[in-house]
């Protein structure tokens, strides 16, 4: 562990950071360059590192839709609550989901009112929970991206092997490249470069972004989550722009590879099939969801309980959708910091610790 941690120090060196900031400013030119960090972990790392103000005037970092909690539609929360209330199932969830608002309630409020909701740290814990409570139906709220999908898939496979008939998953798993394509094709968003997620890329491989780079002429750089990873990733995007090229580059090559983790990909293909799915604030993105395959239909809570998740575009003053698309910054939303604060979130981007609004609020980004 010691050596690993020293290794992390190398990615936090202040002198190198200063040099990179100077290079970014040199390469940026006059008008601020519009780049998007797709992933919520990047959003938090940028806010925690105080990076946004360092680059102000040179680079505008837009925060993308890569926070699984933030893009989970309210219809999903409502479906989960209905399963608990009407079917008496025991709901197992990641803690982040508790405060996400549904149409009229949240899991946290329902838990307070007596619904049996357990927080787990990993999908496999929900399988163990099912084994420990054989008289109850246990539904795991499977929310996440390609990073979480193998763990959810693994839990479903384990449940199948063990014959855990009282375990199922309400799937809300999404894939990142499809969302990036939608944003790339939106002229209002006008993205000049994508800072691509670190962990997602470890699974899907950096080659997964090649269609985005090729079709839309937008440079893509996979970057790690340390401050220097981010600054170097931004600098690489600006270099591509300066050279007039748009390709996929990999700053995070110490972990992510062009092809990704084939074993995890095979697991995802075995348990899930792509589907169209609704993203909160964005709408339905074709092929961007992963539903549970027919082979594991018995573990699909939507089919098991005949409880389909209904997606309806929300209409309210909340502008999370525009935040997730990078059209506005969190502080531009009329609710930000007033009707919508982390203690009483109105929109999902304020709920999750990885949400753009929460990161802006907590670390004072502007």
């Amino acid at each position: 562990m010691n050596r690993n941690m020293k290794y992390i120090d190398d990615f936090r060196d202040p002198a190198t950071a200063r040099a990179l900031v100077a290079r970014i400013r040199r390469d940026a030119g006059d008008a601020p360059v519009r780049l998007m960090e797709v992933c919520g972990t990047h959003t938090v790392a940028i806010a925690r590192g105080g990076i946004r103000p360092l680059l102000s005037g040179a680079v505008t970092m837009l925060s993308g839709p890569g926070c699984p909690v933030c893009v989970t539609p309210d219809g999903y929360i409502d479906a989960a609550i209905a399963l608990g209330r009407e079917r008496g199932v025991l709901l197992a969830t990641f803690g982040d989901m508790l405060r996400v608002p549904g149409k009229s309630s949240s899991l946290e409020k329902e838990k307070g009112a007596g619904l049996d909701i357990r927080v787990v740290y990993s999908p496999i814990d929900a399988v163990s929970l099912a084994a420990a409570t054989p008289e109850r139906e246990v539904v795991f709220l499977g929310v996440g991206f390609e990073t979480t999908a193998p763990a959810i898939g693994g839990a479903i496979r384990t449940a199948a092997e063990r014959g855990a008939g009282n375990f199922s998953v309400l799937s809300s798993v999404r894939t990142i490249p499809e969302a990036m394509e939608l944003l790339a094709s939106d002229p209002d968003v006008a993205i000049e470069g994508f800072l691509c997620p670190a962990h997602v890329s470890v699974v899907i491989g950096s080659d997964a972004y090649r269609p985005v780079a090729r079709r839309y002429g937008i440079p893509c750089v996979v970057a790690g989550f340390e401050p220097l990873d981010i600054l170097l990733g931004i600098s690489m995007l600006l270099r591509q722009r300066k050279e007039g090229v748009a390709r996929v580059e990999n700053e995070y090559s110490r972990v992510a590879t062009p092809a990704g983790n084939r074993k995890a990909q095979a697991l995802i293909r075995d348990v899930f099939v792509p589907c169209d799915t609704g993203w909160r604030g964005i709408g339905v993105i074709p092929g961007s969801g992963l539903r549970i395959s027919d082979r594991y239909a018995g573990f699909d809570a939507e089919r098991k309980f005949d409880a389909p998740v209904v997606f309806s575009p929300e209409g309210s003053a909340c502008r999370c959708g525009d935040v997730l698309k990078g059209k506005i910054r969190p502080s531009d939303c009329p609710l930000f910091g007033k009707a919508c604060v982390p203690e009483e979130p109105y929109g999902p981007c304020m709920v999750s610790s990885e949400g753009a609004c929460a990161a802006y609020f907590k670390y004072g980004g502007s």
Partner: protein, 335 residues
């Protein structure tokens, strides 16, 4: 004596007496407690009196580097110490759950005895209650403490001024990470020990020497250094600026935080203090702290600046950002 706590151990009859005489008094035999009166008679205490109380409900009660007994003494001793008071006497209220192994109780009592001895404080009175199985979590302890203040020193947040330095007596987050690992539902193994320790021996000798220059002290327990500094900054109506590069964090703790997405700034400590001190005395205070076993990794972590109030941090990347109160528990990241 039984090997498990029974409801009748709390009913006031013979079994209660047995438990007290055969178990509890074995650990707390002293001239104040042993006469077994309804109050401990402390005699005359010279000086200004400080008084505090706290409840301890940590789960699990035994964790790497400490246990609920040591915590119950140190927490109260430290609340007195950061107010400049030397603990003289503490109480020991035990709330035991039916079925608790007597051996576990004895382990906690032995730890209380040892911590009290280390801090030079007398366990002067106590109470034992037993609750039905399922109505408690093994063992809860409450302690109240009486202390006598060091002459000539009082907490003075209003004396904090620009140019003052922010000092921390050691690494952040050791206690909370040790407890999290002990809960075992995280499947992480890392050699992290709780820092639970009495701080009176570290802090109180400094006060006469640096009277007037140490302005304010707090122990950053629940909510960690981040929350404590926010509270101190609002008490002082001052602007604190931390230096990320100077924040002491053990490598093993940082490793766990990296994996789980925790910020060590918000993790609880049970053997650390934050001090605000005059700039010109800060280096000398750090040097003195480092001479003590509980202050070896003491550091200046920031300074008080002009303009506004609140807590900011100069980051390693060279930026500046706010350090605010966290909302709710810190939860592991999900992607």
């Amino acid at each position: 004596m039984h090997d498990k706590i029974l409801l009748s151990h709390g009913e006031g009859g013979k079994r209660t007496r047995d438990l007290i005489a055969k178990v509890i008094l074995r650990y707390f035999d002293n001239p104040v407690l042993s006469p077994f009166l309804d109050s401990g008679l402390l005699g005359r205490i010279g000086g200004e009196i400080a008084f505090t109380t706290d409840g301890y409900v940590v789960t699990p009660p035994f964790f790497p580097g400490g246990d609920i007994g040591r915590l119950a003494v140190c927490g109260t001793v430290n609340d007195l110490a950061v107010c400049g008071a030397k603990a003289v006497a503490i109480s020991c209220g035990l709330i035991l759950e039916e079925g608790l192994p007597v051996e576990s109780l004895e382990r906690a009592l032995a730890a209380m005895r040892d911590a009290a001895k280390e801090a030079g404080v007398t366990v002067a009175c106590g109470d034992t209650k037993v609750v039905e199985r399922g109505k408690g979590d093994g063992i809860f302890i409450t302690t109240a403490g009486v202390g006598v203040a060091v002459d000539g020193w009082r907490p003075a947040p209003s004396e904090i001024r620009p140019g003052d330095r922010i000092l921390l007596t050691g690494t952040m987050g050791d206690h909370q990470v040790a407890v999290l690992i002990a809960r075992r539902n995280l499947d992480i193994e890392a050699p992290v020990l709780s820092d639970v320790a009495p701080l009176s021996g570290l802090l109180l000798p400094l006060l006469p020497r640096f009277a007037g220059r140490i302005r304010f002290m707090r122990d950053p327990t629940r909510g960690g250094v981040g929350v404590t500094l926010n509270e101190m900054a609002s008490a002082a109506n001052a602007r604190f600026v931390l230096d990320e590069a100077r924040l002491p964090v053990r490598e093993s703790v940082r490793g766990v935080c990296e994996i789980l997405g925790f910020d060590p700034l918000y993790l609880a400590n049970e053997g650390k203090a934050v001090l605000i001190a005059a700039g010109e005395a800060a280096e000398a205070i750090v040097a003195s702290l480092r001479e003590h076993p509980y202050g070896r990794e003491a550091a200046i972590i920031g300074e008080v600046q002009e303009g506004g109030s609140g807590v900011r941090m100069r980051t390693l990347a060279g930026g500046v950002r706010a350090v605010d109160y966290p909302v709710g528990d810190q939860l592991p990241r999900i992607c």
